[in-house]
Subunit: 498 residues, 2 copies
Amino acid sequence: MAKKTKAASLKARLPKGLRDLEATEIRALDSMLGNIRATYELYGFEPLETPAFEYSDALGKFLPDQERPNAGVFSFEDEDEGWVSLRYDLTAPLARYVAQNYDALPKPFRRYQTGPVWRNEKPGPGRFRQFTQFDADTVGTDNIVADGELCMLAADCLEACGIPRGSYRITVNNRKLLDGILQAIDIDPRAEANSWRRLTVLRAIDKIDRLGPEGVERLLGEGRKDDSGDYTRGADLKPDQIKTVMGYVTSSTDKPDQTLSNLEQLIGGSKLGEEGVSELRQIQSLLGSAGFGYDRVVVDPGVVRGLDYYTGPVFEAQLTLETIDDKGHKVSFGSVGGGGRYDDLVARFRGAKIPATGFSVGVSRLQSALSLLGKGGSEAGTGPVVVLVMDKNHLADYQTVVRKLRNAGIRSEMYTGTSGMRAQMKYADKRNSPCVVIKGEDEKSEGTVTIKDLIEGSRLSEQIEDNISWREGRPAQFSVKEEDMIAAVKNILDRHDA
Amino acid sequence: MAKKTKAASLKARLPKGLRDLEATEIRALDSMLGNIRATYELYGFEPLETPAFEYSDALGKFLPDQERPNAGVFSFEDEDEGWVSLRYDLTAPLARYVAQNYDALPKPFRRYQTGPVWRNEKPGPGRFRQFTQFDADTVGTDNIVADGELCMLAADCLEACGIPRGSYRITVNNRKLLDGILQAIDIDPRAEANSWRRLTVLRAIDKIDRLGPEGVERLLGEGRKDDSGDYTRGADLKPDQIKTVMGYVTSSTDKPDQTLSNLEQLIGGSKLGEEGVSELRQIQSLLGSAGFGYDRVVVDPGVVRGLDYYTGPVFEAQLTLETIDDKGHKVSFGSVGGGGRYDDLVARFRGAKIPATGFSVGVSRLQSALSLLGKGGSEAGTGPVVVLVMDKNHLADYQTVVRKLRNAGIRSEMYTGTSGMRAQMKYADKRNSPCVVIKGEDEKSEGTVTIKDLIEGSRLSEQIEDNISWREGRPAQFSVKEEDMIAAVKNILDRHDA
């Protein structure tokens, strides 16, 4: 095929919404993923990896953004296997895995998984078609303890990544409460005929942060026209129904007991609502006894979470640090992860209900936040020590030097290009090398090597203005006996790491 | 969609050739990947990550197995982007990346990348449609030093993963030598009309280990019928041509200089062949000066490597340890990685030639080898400490205990299921927990906790045959003051790690 392709007629580019990650970003990301992994492990979760694609019917399609008809998954028809799809999250593959291996698994089954997921959506700023999730789930128990643990896990995760206490909050709500409010205004949330209206109410509530109370009221009523003139149809509730829902949305206080009492009054005897309040109370008490106070985990009736499959507690990890939105306004950073209880996902395969609850970190969102805090991209690290090639007839000399460095565990390479000294020094600079090592004829006859400290050199060059005295002085360059080379290089590395 | 699916009519299964990785395997794999990464870093390579899919035309299709018409890539037509394909290796995306970012990169550009690749091939035992590669490449130099480095890297990688010296060899050859042999028998290797014959000769040589000299001779001549009766067409060489090629294939000796002299005679003045020998001599000398002797890196004229795009040195990491093949015969384990020089891949985008050379570890092959050596799956690790739930009205007590353990960095969890004591103990066993912690009413009133050492317990239970004395004796179970719990648990963990 290579031969058939017209040379250089091909453009080197990536499809929209995909990107390459380079060294600095990968190192920062790996460090963050390591902190999340350590926290998940500390909580007793075990790793699992499922493949990138699965049968389309096994994955199903439980995507949040159902407003856009185009939203979806990458699917293709395999000649042997029929329709397969790239995974769009890590929860659907987990449900398939648990159903397939249920009898052999410990119950509850607690696993974590990280990896890329793919969404066939319109890409935008900060919105990619391949991105990484990092999930922890407990499957096979309806014990509310499992949900409470995930709220603690979320808080501990953020702190392990360097988000200071006070800059985040974990908000908790319960889908049963949301459905209880619907019951309280005489809309049966489980009746098929009400499903569109139920979804419209949930979506309206979900937009309280963005639209404010007035906007939400419109979406609960006849609908709302946005700034661009686009009209969104409303849920068509009556004024007193709207009043109850708005009371619910604004029932949050800074005292958990007060919030829970407010909610209890609003749901007015709905059975689902009472279950929801009771579960929130249990989570609250559990968190309290583990030392997680209201400064970290907050009951917030406005938290909805996009996914349709949640059935009980839902939670969100929100960063309260401020950033600038598209329109230049200051806004709090918002969600970097979330999750909740989903009791019906495994049942698709097994018939019998297998309750489950999970938490997922939005990896790139969290990394953006860490960058904003100045904790995201600082791990640039130093490049390798570069051993210069003075004369290509003496490669063996340079190779011996590299071998000594590597045997001492020092990251290093002999220059592998074919250019001269000036280009080699430029190369070392571009690689962010801490130093170069020179073993020319003079050094060889003296049994020495010359070491140029590039980081010190660049610091000095900013101080010395006179170019000639700079070059003649050869600062940050010195000669050592070859047997002292390792110690001298380590000395430079230690100084730069400090 | 969930609602439309008939409950439990769905079968939970994976498409053929895909698999899930579970905790033990993931831990062993991560440990191995960490060793490879450390070696690549030591050699000065920097990480890069490219996305899972790319434009189909940007990837091209340079797959080794061109005999099977079905062999290929997973491709799908995206409504916005046209045809895209899942990557089938990490080299084609690298070529695209380098072409796209060439001006900004240090030259030579040295990167490593690991991750899954996908092949749309018939799966078989040990042959998956998603598998992991781990590559290091140097792009932008025709310096043979870069190839020599990769041979050292391959050897160091295997040793870092625990393959002892003497159990592997890195074999080196040169495509120019293979083409030189063709020139020596009057077949122009660069003439389009000879491309099928050239490939047939290369494939025949590649099969020397499997078919022996007689089988290769047939494939060089009129063809060969295998045991199943399938006929493979041969290269139709004349007897004296076959004799030269066979002389080449068997020219390897245990003395590198002797092998190189043999080769020099055989190629009989072919320019390409002479270049090939000269490059092998340079690699040999470079490796020698770095201390890599013939016990590790061997010139082997039989090494072909499947990929069509190689243009110069090719190398293979082979394990000499023995294993049993499909038919029950003892065979040496064979290739766990390889690579070579490919000078035309980036040119597809840029017109101008950008020479490159790379090495790739076949991750699952290497892991299978480590398992055979008893070094692959031993990192089972211990599960979390499980704090038992005695009475669900006292969850706060157990949660306090878990918090103390986690604050001390001890992997632990409160049992999150809803079953009784017996099931909880079974759960802890299944999780491979080192111990469980019990804080019942008695313990609470005494300010103590009871700790059951499960690993010691299971050891003792094998010694004690009398079931009653076992239960009454409660071995490996003891009580400590709650403030001494951390020290007691750490003591158990230390004993089991030792």
